[in-house]
């Protein structure tokens, strides 16, 4: 009961945050120089000034900014209740609702984010645990160096170097896209070959993070009394590691999952750009450049909502997994 109230209150608090974000994004994206109508009619020589004015009027771009914002809010959040569908939340370039366009690309981004998450867990967690148990060894030193350098690599540079080495020189993996053109979309091996490099590049910082985190956490756990008791009982080393130390060290990792997924989805922007992965980030970036305001709004609001929700889920997960943390 108390926790239900807590969740409701957190969700309620999220509303002003998201409103402020939408106002900020709306104002900033429209302050930028450039006019979408001029951009997409570029090169049309038979266009008169009147045509341009008419087009601007059609999209509501001639209205004062607050009116435009209200129009967008009513259209995007309240689905045009009590009036015919407005163009305010429709893509200027595609003439379709921006949310729908974004939704079509969401699957691709989620694929990438989940694959990266999987790599982070499969590589980062064992690395950290091994480093902790072999503290001071060569493996430990390697993991610690890796944990710092994984953060220091510019993402796009790593991506481009991998393309250069793996795709261009060794010809092992494809360098862009979801799957080979002409292949069946359920050709899973082909899709895996395509997703491997972008997922790894997206995962690298997280792998570094996890290995470092797990190392500290495991070191803390194995210095506690119940581990000594387990050893004293004569349990095998493996049993101690797997069912005593590992399970306890994993608690913070599990609670952080939601937040990490949100970070991956928004962090995918650059990776998507490098590997021409048709996802939400790349789409939003293209919209910023072409001044397709409704898509910019949809993209930023989507990513922000995901982030806000993941903060809430993280806090709830903390209090569920570790009852010592009060939900206050």
């Amino acid at each position: 009961m108390r926790s239900l109230k807590y969740i409701l209150r957190r969700l309620l608090y999220a509303i002003p945050t998201l409103l402020a974000i939408s106002i900020l994004t709306f104002a900033l994206s429209r302050l930028a120089p450039g006019d979408p109508v001029r951009l997409f009619t570029f090169g049309a020589t038979d266009l008169t000034q009147q045509d341009i004015e008419a087009l601007r009027h059609t999209y509501g771009l001639d209205q004062p900014a607050p009116v435009q914002y209200g129009d967008w809010l009513w259209s995007a959040v309240f689905f045009d209740v009590g009036r015919p569908p407005s163009l305010a939340s429709q893509s200027i370039l595609y003439h379709r609702p921006a949310a729908g366009l974004l939704f079509e690309r969401l699957g691709n981004t989620l694929q990438l984010a989940l694959a990266a998450l999987l790599l982070q867990l499969l590589i980062g967690v064992p690395l950290g645990v091994i480093a902790a148990f072999k503290r001071g060894s060569l493996t430990d030193k390697f993991v610690r160096i890796f944990a710092v350098s994984g953060h220091a690599l510019p993402t796009f540079w790593l991506g481009l170097m991998l393309i250069y080495l793996v795709s261009v020189n060794l010809r092992l993996l494809p360098s862009q896209g979801l799957l080979t053109i002409g292949h069946d979309q359920w050709d899973i091996p082909d899709r895996l070959r395509h997703i491997l490099m972008p997922a790894f590049v997206l995962a690298l910082a997280g792998i570094a993070n996890y290995s470092r985190y797990l190392r500290t956490e495991t070191l803390e756990v194995i210095s506690q009394d119940f581990i000594r008791t387990a050893h004293a009982k004569g349990l095998r080393e493996r049993t101690v590691i797997v069912s005593h130390a590992f399970r306890n060290a994993l608690i913070p990792v599990v609670t952080a999952l939601g937040g990490i997924l949100a970070v991956l989805v928004s962090g995918a922007l650059i990776v998507e750009q490098v590997f021409t992965w048709p996802g939400v980030g790349q789409f939003t970036y293209a919209a910023v450049r072409s001044k397709d305001y409704p898509i910019v709004m949809a993209g930023v609001m989507f990513a922000s909502t995901l982030l806000v929700l993941s903060y809430i889920i993280r806090d709830i997960a903390y209090s569920v997994v570790d009852p010592r943390i009060k939900a206050s």
Partner: protein, 308 residues
């Protein structure tokens, strides 16, 4: 009692005792000097800064080649010692990669350090004020932080960066105005716990004014944390600069920065692969060293936090 003491002693690294007691800073410096990795990283950073600052000297005396001097006949020249100015090769219009890296370093390091110091000024100021004064100011600061932290940073930077003509100064402004939240959070948290301590009450009791309490009593206590954050911050900003360059929103040529040199070079991947390697490696090295220094400083300044 003795048994416990022995156990803890055993686990600690053995640091020889010093003859005289020392303050926080000289104590930290003593520990830092023994940390070879951190000292090496610090040396690399100092060297990079000095070499970048001396760019005109290298240009005139060592390479004898202007940073914007072109030589189309030697475009994409691979790295060679003869002539010396092509030691890192030539770019797509025959400019010396080495000299341009020196000047790029000035811009990249400059943006990193300038934006970080601005961020720190904003972050520390707001953090101290919010944490010490509480009330309305605190609520406002927290709300702004919540809003800024709830927008994925790269999206926000993307939109704001397209507002300005991309140059070093607007970039410094954008990065610092959007990136102070983490520092503020840290400083605010520290201030919240420090303000309840006896020495603050004592200072207030003897009639210290609010600015005096803030700057003479609170600030010195959060200083160690600030220095650690600063080192890491500079590195993160340099990565951001590179990422924004890649998205076409960073500093624009002809001003060279490591970020835009790297981005530019990726267009000539097949003819001049060497051009991609050097700027990327320099960014990586610098950021790595900054992170290592940050880690080392944290251990040196607060031995209790030592992460083994």
């Amino acid at each position: 009692m003795t048994a416990t003491a022995e156990v803890t002693l055993e686990r600690r690294e053995v640091v020889p005792l010093r003859r005289t007691a020392a303050g926080l800073w000289s104590d930290a410096w003593y520990r830092l000097r023994r940390d070879r990795v951190t000292m090496a990283a610090l040396a690399v950073i100092v060297l990079l800064i000095l070499v970048s600052l001396a760019a005109p000297i290298f240009e005139e005396l060592v390479f004898r080649y202007k940073f914007d001097q072109q030589d189309l006949l030697h475009a994409y020249n691979p790295p060679t010692l003869d002539p010396i100015y092509y030691i890192f090769g030539a770019d797509e219009i025959g400019r010396s990669q080495a000299v341009r890296l020196l000047y790029g370093g000035r811009v990249s390091l400059g943006v990193g350090f300038a934006a970080a110091s601005l961020q720190l000024t904003i972050g520390v100021g707001l953090g101290l004020a919010a944490g010490y004064l509480r009330g309305r100011i605190d609520e406002l600061v927290i709300f702004v932080i919540t809003v800024l932290n709830s927008i994925p940073q790269i999206f926000l930077l993307l939109i704001v960066a397209s507002l300005f003509a991309p140059g070093p100064l607007p970039l410094i402004g954008i990065i610092s105005v959007l990136g102070w939240t983490q520092i503020t959070n840290f400083v605010r948290g520290q201030t919240l716990s420090l303000r309840e301590r006896e020495f603050i009450t004592a200072a207030k009791t003897v009639g210290a004014t609010t600015p005096r309490v803030l700057f003479r009593h609170l600030l010195p206590n959060v200083m160690p944390l600030i220095i650690v954050l600063a080192a890491i911050d500079v590195g993160t900003i340099m990565l951001l600069e590179a990422a924004l360059s890649f998205l076409g929103l960073g500093i624009q040529p002809p001003i060279p920065s490591w970020g835009n040199m790297l981005t530019n070079a990726t267009q000539y991947f097949f003819r001049g692969g060497h051009l991609v390697v050097t700027p990327g490696f320099l960014i990586f090295m610098t950021v790595l060293c900054l992170y290592l220094v940050g880690d080392g400083l944290r251990d040196a300044l607060d031995p209790r936090l030592k992460t083994h």
